[in-house]
């Protein structure tokens, strides 16, 4: 009893030891639930590891087959890249002008608009997919009704064809995350001194020119940051296509139109019991993200020097 109290007092009053004690939960949890499985995932990727057992060392075969005989991986990469552009990167093209509009000094109730644009961000993917279910429905959906009766064109089978699936997923992603990006850009815009615009106006620069010459260059660090988030999230896109297209069994829906890299990884690892192959995809995905974010940094640095 006294011994433990004394020990506790020694630790409790030791100003040198305390910080190590306070950060130790992070390291203990990261070691067990983070680092160990990361290492094990690399180990797995070198073996023909299956749910039913380990069939032996295969070297890099799990990796090479992705780029040679695998029938789905190429499709998954192409789909992910298309969705990255139309679903994630496109958001910035909308978010920046929106932030500029909301930031206009004429706008009253700025915060109300901000909140309305941001609201989709707090919904879950499952809720988003369900809500848009009746919007995109082939026969009774609102969108097809508008396309057929107002625009006089043929309605789309929104989850029935490879291309339409990508459009649907992109619309879902844009709806949910544009507001989030807009808020980030709005914060950036508020840091730009108004005098710069006044000076440019005196020099005869129009509104568009002002934004091209002042807003965009000064937003560059924030664009870099927002694009980084989009790259990291976009390459790992899983929830939206998985929920929209009905899970493992459809393998990304008709024509594999919604099969992303992470979706394929989950099918191999959790449905087909091919743990080694799934782990190999995980590492390829990690390096793709590393490459993309590095490229983003290089491009941003180049632009900044101009």
């Amino acid at each position: 009893m006294t011994l433990t109290t004394k020990l506790w007092e020694k630790i409790g009053f030791n100003q040198k030891l305390a910080p190590y004690l306070f950060v130790s939960p992070f390291f203990i949890l990261f070691l067990i639930f983070g680092l160990y499985p990361i290492g094990y995932s690399f180990y797995m990727s070198l073996f023909d590891m299956r749910l039913v057992g380990n069939r032996g060392f295969v070297g890099l075969a799990n990796y090479t087959r992705l780029f040679t005989i695998d029938e789905f991986f190429g499709t998954a990469v192409v789909n992910t890249l298309i969705l990255l552009v139309t679903g994630s990167l496109l958001q910035h093209v909308f978010a920046i002008p929106m932030a500029i509009i909301v930031n206009n000094p004429r706008v009253r109730a700025r915060h109300t608009f901000k909140a309305l644009f941001f609201a989709p961000f707090i919904t879950s993917t499952v809720a988003t997919v369900i809500i848009f279910g009746m919007v995109f429905d082939h026969n009774y959906g609102l969108l097809n009704w508008i396309i057929e009766n107002v625009m006089g064109m043929d309605g789309l089978r929104w989850t029935g064809r490879s291309g339409a699936i990508k459009a649907t997923i992109s619309i879902l992603l844009n709806w949910r995350f544009i507001g989030f990006n807009m808020v980030i850009y709005l914060a950036g815009l508020q840091g730009i001194p108004k005098e710069l615009y006044e000076a440019a106006a005196i020099d005869g620069a129009g509104t568009l020119q002002q934004h091209r010459l002042i807003t965009l260059p000064l937003l560059l660090p924030i664009i870099f940051f927002g694009v980084s988030l989009s790259l990291i999230g976009g390459f790992q896109l899983f929830d939206e296509p998985f929920v929209l297209l009905g899970g493992y069994d459809t393998v990304g829906g008709p024509g594999q139109g919604g099969l992303t890299i992470a979706y394929y990884l989950m099918i191999l690892g959790f449905k087909n019991g091919r743990l080694g192959r799934g782990a190999a995809i995980a590492w390829v995905l990690f390096f793709i993200i590393l490459l993309a974010t590095t490229a983003n940094r290089i491009v941003t640095n180049r632009l900044q020097k101009k």
Binding site: A18, P25, F26, P120, V126, A262, F270, A282
Partner: protein, 284 residues
Amino acid sequence: MKKISTRGQNLAKTAALYTTLVGLAFVFFFPFYYMFVIASHPRETMFRTPPNIWFGGALWDNIHRLLFVQEQVPYLTNYANSVIIAVLTVLTTIFFCTMGGFALAKYEFRGKKFIFIFILSTMAFPPFLNIIPFYRMMVAFGWINSWRALIVPGMANAMGIFLMRQYMEESIPNALLDAARIDGLSEFGILTRIVFPLAKPGMGVLAIITFVGSWNNFLGAFILLPNLRSTTLTVALNTLNAVSFGEFGMVYAGTALAILPLLVIFFMASQQFISGLTTGSVKG
């Protein structure tokens, strides 16, 4: 010439501005409105041309069927699970992240810089990198279908520690901590009695981020809580949506009830919510 037209131009500009803003607000908010429209229609009036854009009269009936009639998912149990998991995740995350953040904000110790950078760099690992072995590990631990699997691994996470460190570094005066030491408080006592009360605004931000993340988490609950009785709302809604053909009113009522708490809190405290959910990213 220019001066005469200025007022008219101004008016036109303001009108165009508000038209754009209202149009955009419509696009972003319409799906929420539409969700309640669908949730309020009975099967008989669900599919019409032109499609419904106004409320029907079956909202209570749809909710009643969702909660007490259908037997595909135990909706109320799932609701309770979501609440309990989210609350426990928030409490444990706040405790461990404030503790870790405090160490990095207010102590000088060997390896501090390295530890800080190490913690930050762990955020670079995408969750999918270790998901397969992580799942196998949860199976080996016997944590599948247990809430621990969703709560414990992320309790002391890098983002939360970073956020709390940034907050405490500026807002907690060193003199106060030294005074407490002179008064005979232990380091742990300082943490619980002085730091915790002072760090409340920072904790609030972390609580919002953590709650929303936990409430909306699909992938984690989907693989770690496969049993319908122990799983959360997101998975239950996904299942309900897949198995109840044509029951749009009921499924939408379930979705609306799942979103409603967050939506209400969001509009009551949208300023805090928005800055909370974006601070981690802007500062990161």
